[in-house]
């Protein structure tokens, strides 16, 4: 099989970290800024960053629709933190004019765990990755408030008020509320590549 090419949306945020991890896993990588950069990709990742900034830049560049199209057409796509927000069909507590790619039938709540002082590290139980639990880095992170029946819950984190959904998969689309690109653990990326 040919070596797959993974694009990472490179408008703003921690895109270099995703590129580094994919590089280390032996696939071809490409930063994506324009719709032309989407051609011939086998998978796409949308990194952490500021979702309002990414949304504005994506609209300016005219990549909102092209990215939404490739996600809808079944391109394996990974979204982390802001990337999860950009892939969600519904955003709670976002700006009223915030545009996203959509494609995942979930409702996410932005900054759900609180402001930066509440940002935290915690073990995320992800049976799909086996043991041990995944080291989750949560930075002004969202959580999944609702998910349609066709969405698989891949990861949850225990909070004082109960457990929260922080990783999901629907078909070829995977999203995490935390930052696997900041953890010294590449299992989320490897699992994602196995969907190609």
């Amino acid at each position: 099989m040919n070596v797959p090419t993974v694009g990472v949306l490179a408008l703003q945020g921690a895109f270099r970290e995703h590129l580094n991890i994919f590089d280390s896993l032996g696939v071809n990588t490409r930063g994506v800024r324009t719709s032309a950069d989407l051609a011939g990709l086998d998978a796409l990742a949308i990194p952490g960053g500021e979702s309002t900034t990414m949304s504005r830049l994506a609209a300016d560049l005219g990549v909102l629709e092209p990215v939404a199209d490739v996600v809808r057409s079944g391109l394996p796509t990974l979204g982390t933190c802001a990337g999860m927000i950009m892939l969600a069909d519904e955003v709670i507590d976002g700006r009223s004019d915030q545009q996203s790619f959509g494609g995942l039938q979930i409702a996410v709540r932005r900054n759900a765990f609180g402001r930066q002082s509440e940002s935290f590290e915690a073990q995320v139980s992800m049976p799909v990755l086996g043991e041990p639990a995944f080291p989750g880095v949560f930075i002004r992170a969202p959580w999944v408030e609702q998910a349609s029946e066709s969405v698989e819950v891949w990861g949850q984190v225990e909070r004082p008020e109960g457990s929260r959904i922080v990783a999901v998969r629907q078909g070829p689309v995977v999203a995490t509320a935390f930052h696997p690109e900041l953890a010294d653990d590449d299992r989320v990326h490897r699992k994602f590549l196995s969907l190609i």
Partner: protein
Amino acid sequence: MSQDSANPVTGTDRVKRGMAEMLKGGVIMDVVTPEQARIAEDAGACAVMALERVPADIRAEGGVSRMSDPDMIDEIVATVSIPVMAKVRIGHFVEAQILQSLGVDYIDESEVLTPADYANHIDKWQFTVPFVCGATNLGEALRRINEGAAMIRSKGEAGTGDVSNATTHMRKIRGEIAQLSALSPDELYVAAKEIQAPYDLVAEVAREGRLPVVLFTAGGIATPADAAMMMQLGADGVFVGSGIFKSGDPARRAHAVVQATTHYDNPDVLAKVSRGLGEAMVGINVDELPVDHRLAERGW
């Protein structure tokens, strides 16, 4: 890191430094009112810096410059959904305690305000909120990181609209990193002594060829071209202070600087976004400022 997921850990190095990673490729804008904060967010700023006066006004009005009124910070926090930063005086750990209690997302221990301690900076390890600090060279950057700073910005000369010092400081920091990388391990002990930085951090920088935290740039950036140049010189992102809201058309200029920071290596886009921005801030040549009026000299 805790193994017990029911007891998450806040304020770790990874979440403090990671927060800055999420700002990369973005523009952080000084704002003095909720309306300006809204304009900044609309333009695509990745964060705002809430303060009472932009550096150009601090410079013009003189007097002691301090942390902003909590009411004003609260209003800005309530207005925007992007991260909100705020400034404290160098060494003023109680101003920092107050800002942490207000829930700001990042604290800038800043030479733009009047220093509160001419010997010591804040012990930033004592806080769960992360800090950004200014630096004019590598030794200063590593001293701040040793005190717990989770992000560094090159200082430049704030409130001038003159980008020359930002250029000097960014080139200096990058150049010193390159020099360290070229040294053999037994030379790093003396190098650490010379730049007055802890050996462990010096060895880490020499090994990795980069700072262990995100490096933004600040001080005098007034145009999209200024922002793009600093990115080409190796900045991870840009702070713009007086340059936006002291210009003729802030909303348009803010949006142009955001685009220029993303497309810093694409002159066609830079040409397009540089058009029709109205008047830039008037500016002051740093050369004409008496040395004791230069803010970058503050910090030790």
